[in-house]
């Protein structure tokens, strides 16, 4: 940490700051420039936030040098983390596609979709049983009934199930049915939910908040790891910007950025990331080319009748065309698509 003193700060003021830092266990390095005094402080990075030196009127600014995260960092764990889910692995050479409707609407809808996406090459089934909706007048999900349909679809197809949890009180219930718990974008900094998810025993897919910086996102993952759950995957789903043609701005640079800073896998959601079905296919290809470890894509048998997100959902036919394209692309990237290994159906 670097502390920059204001021009004209007195010896006493400099002394006060350095005493404060020494008390907190930091080692100090003083550097007196012509215009400014600058102090370097070396110590435990996790105690940094507790020190609010900018509250002192004679401190101009405090510049943190080390990142505030630890467990999610590649420095802490240099090799790629591989998340094992059932008989699948995420974070290795195989790229996985998670597909399904935004919301579980009915038994028929989820089973039809599951068979279709498995046929096309998906390895995970997505679908929300608990839905965080902007409007109180919108469909809020089938809840446990929806979870049962997802489990039934897994039985029939061998697909693994990923589904969202939005209430800390439901974590155990969702973990009973799901193979992966999804923390949605709007809950990325719902620390209560993160702490609960840390205890669930299941891998967690952590979506980026619509206005979360890379560092805040990594700190949210740090909550889950600090709580004892090391099975975390990042999921970029677009950030909020001034551009309104797309629903969000899909920030694919997060793929190589996260791979540089962290050991955890990165999944891309081109459906929420664009909000328009006709942009999903090209952006899915771009995501893989950027190095993503997987995709999560909305597929609905009848998008125009979907209770939510119809306009960004692929039909099973379009999904199949996209999967064929992705298979070809992954091999040019020296990776391969995951496969449902169990003989089911």
């Amino acid at each position: 940490m670097i502390v920059v003193m204001k021009m004209g700060s007195t010896a006493e003021q400099i002394e006060e700051v350095s005493t404060r830092l020494t008390e907190e266990g930091f080692k100090i390095h003083l550097s007196q420039g012509v215009e400014r005094t600058i102090m370097g402080a070396i110590g435990d990075r996790t105690r940094l936030e507790a020190l609010d030196l900018e509250a002192l009127p004679w401190v101009e600014k405090v510049v943190p040098i080390l990142a505030p995260y630890k467990l999610v960092s590649r420095e802490f764990h240099p090799a790629d983390s591989i998340i094992r889910i059932g008989d699948q692995e995420i974070g290795g050479n195989r790229v996985h596609v998670m597909a399904g409707p935004c919301a579980v609407e009915s038994r028929a809808q989820i089973l039809e979709t599951a068979h279709a996406v498995r046929e096309a090459g998906a390895t995970f089934l997505r679908g929300g049983a608990f839905k965080p909706r902007t409007s109180p007048y919108s469909f809020q999900g089938l809840e446990e009934e929806g979870l049962r349909y997802l489990a039934e679809a897994r039985e029939q197809t061998g697909l693994l199930v990923i589904t969202e949890v939005i209430d800390a009180r439901d974590v155990a219930l969702v973990a009973e049915y799901a193979d992966v718990l999804q923390i949605g974008a709007r809950n990325m900094q719902n620390f209560i939910l993160l702490k609960e998810a840390a205890k669930c025993g299941k891998p967690v897919l952590l979506k980026r908040g619509p206005s979360a910086t890379l560092e805040e996102w990594m700190m949210a993952a740090e909550y889950i790891m600090d709580g004892g759950n090391y099975q975390v995957m990042f999921c970029e789903r677009g950030i909020r910007t001034f551009e309104s043609y797309t629903r969000n701005t899909l920030d694919l640079s997060m793929v190589p950025a996260l791979h540089a800073l962290s050991h955890l896998p990165v999944i891309i959601d081109p459906s929420h990331g664009t909000g328009k079905w006709h942009l999903v296919h090209p952006m899915a290809k771009a995501a893989l080319a950027a190095g993503a470890d997987g995709l999560i894509v909305e597929v609905h048998p009848h998008p125009e009748k979907a209770v939510s997100d119809g306009k960004q959902s692929l039909t099973p036919e379009r999904f199949q065309v996209m999967m064929a394209d992705l298979a070809r692309l992954t091999s040019a990237l020296d990776r391969e698509l995951g496969e449902v290994s169990k003989c089911v159906k």
Copy 2:
């Protein structure tokens, strides 16, 4: 709602859309231009989101005409809503200042602050007992112990208490101690928490999410009102933009915008809105001049030792100077500052 068909859409495609709308109870108006067919649809605005017509490839776009909110709207309730809390009223002619530390750190700290801000003219005491913190390594709050200290400070000073709730399971507990429940910015779209807060029987201060649009914010308030709690106040605390000199960009235009669209009071938080103590005083004045119904301001007896937000906290001395200035300003605005009416201590 206006549905714009793509160029060259066929009679069958137009028919399909209009049938779909008619089935959902909408009345249709067809307008055939030279380049495009446009359809006006009139019906229940709350059913709009259920219809995902943009999922149809021959629909170019759907333009909603009516706002999706109802209960929060000034059309629904033309007069200003006055929120009654203890013997105070928010939303009328009196402007209230809520002040106190970011976090309740100790009994001594909260009592010292409470007396100081009451002396200077505040009518509410703020202070967090449950803290949503970006880092798992930061202080997470004194929890119920903190709530007890706040209640004790109320006893001693006559100040009303506002404090944040971050877990749906704690709503009843917090409501037992607090006069106003605060929903923090990062929980603005934590719909589980909103639904629980709707049932608590206490007024709710709803902070704007860092990347929430005005409409999404109003929809979050709609959740609370739809759940039966009409005692809602909006609180602008800055939005996330590219500018990093300030912690957030305080969007004061929301004051007149909300007063135009809604009947609910608007409070401004210049502390989080700027992140720098030396900007708090001028922005507090600006907030009142823009028409705000109140302020929520961080005050700490020793900002440089605060466990959080020290750099945006005023000392009691600076707070007093600001309050004197605000008193003079409010009278030029034909309003007056609230006062603690009860004779305590």
Copy 3:
């Protein structure tokens, strides 16, 4: 400047960086932590950008400590700068209101507006003769004819004239007619135009670019001062954010921020800052309460027939009501409104 080396960087790599810095005239301070080597470098801040040390793979990051601007800085010039224009002063105790239409549309329109705004208390007349328009199909301005009408309005009313220049080739022409040259938001980083404006001999009002940071804005002003023109005023007119209810997000915190960092006056444009006429009056009040040295406001005798910006223009009647309100407010702020001193008409 602080240079942070990557973990595990070798003595040679550290040596290379420090040699590089020494060659450029920087004095070096080495600090070897357990995890990282950190280097403090003290030298000429304006040479900083020439050094691209982050291009070296073993440099983790470079953190600038001093701001890159000099002439615009309050450290360089501690007292407030007062800009003298005709017999008026901006930056002192008097607050000036600049008013008029977006574009000069006709002689009659500009004369009618000029008399109306002078009557209401404005001291400057605004109006564009050269218009930067988003669409090539929109009205592009009356050019020199418009400048002549502005000059005629000045003759008749005693108002000073501020008008925009958009082409470096027109700077001399515009400076012949105008009292203040306006550099528009989209030209804030048109460095060619800035350099030309530096030579025009007239004060310059520099609008903030829609996505310019505070530092970039100050650097743009530095261009004009570095070119020899010290008569610069900042003008905040809203930044581009995700919020679309308002045309831009008016960032009033720039008023106290600029007053802290710079000695130059700050003007606020609540018309472009909000894009809606009914938000102009409250935001104009907020601007003054935040400490602005002046306002620039769009007024049009018939907003619904304006060739541009009608929806954010006040009628003369509404402008008069606002001015009465501002007069009362300024006195509560211990300032006063400017006045046209010459006996004209």
Copy 4:
């Protein structure tokens, strides 16, 4: 265009609006709902901006239905436009890579770079002779001398030359030396420069402004086409968002979005788009996978000594590795890399 009247607007007010529209040549369709009167108006889309109906207090909002651009639109020109430059074509099946330093620094530097990038497979040489720099104290370019070096490099290598023009007065000069004129991001809405570039007789690469919406960007291209120059290419180089790990947020969704809305080619700049050299390679791959028609990449023989943008520049060695990877990728995408066809050297 749809005009939504406020609740309770009178017959006279509705009449006034419809008369106004009829006078401007619009055909009107009236739709009286229970809550609102809505008016559909069909007419010339380019006259829309001239009508400022929202200035009328009884108009709630005006919703444009048709896009304001024409010549850049795919509706106007359904087939892909192919831009012919020398013996190369952009916009067809071949993907072109433009490479070179940020700034032309010396004859030796540009010749060394030119040979290196040609060797690796680039077909265009980039390099700025006129530099728009944030600071007046930074290197501002070699100007005409730089243009001569670029032309000499073209002679030696057969690479075509693309270089930026920043002053309308220099357009003819730059067009004399360059094969493609680049309009930089900060000049995207410098309409004076756009109009001049429209007359230069050379293809133009139009970079997206850091806060320009898709529509504003297309309107800027419309200026060039409306001025008679149909040889326009879009170049996405990242937008300004809250994320600061990357210099900008590279918005790759613009590739399929522009391909859907326009017939013009789309080039991606992963160097400015990320600001970090180690992100350039993965994002270049992602750009091609998204369907980009070309790339523009910064390459410098000694990035750590570059006068600008060193930290986002590839060394010739890293560029070569990337090009080999891109060659393999393009063939999986059924495209191929462009080649320098002339036998030179």
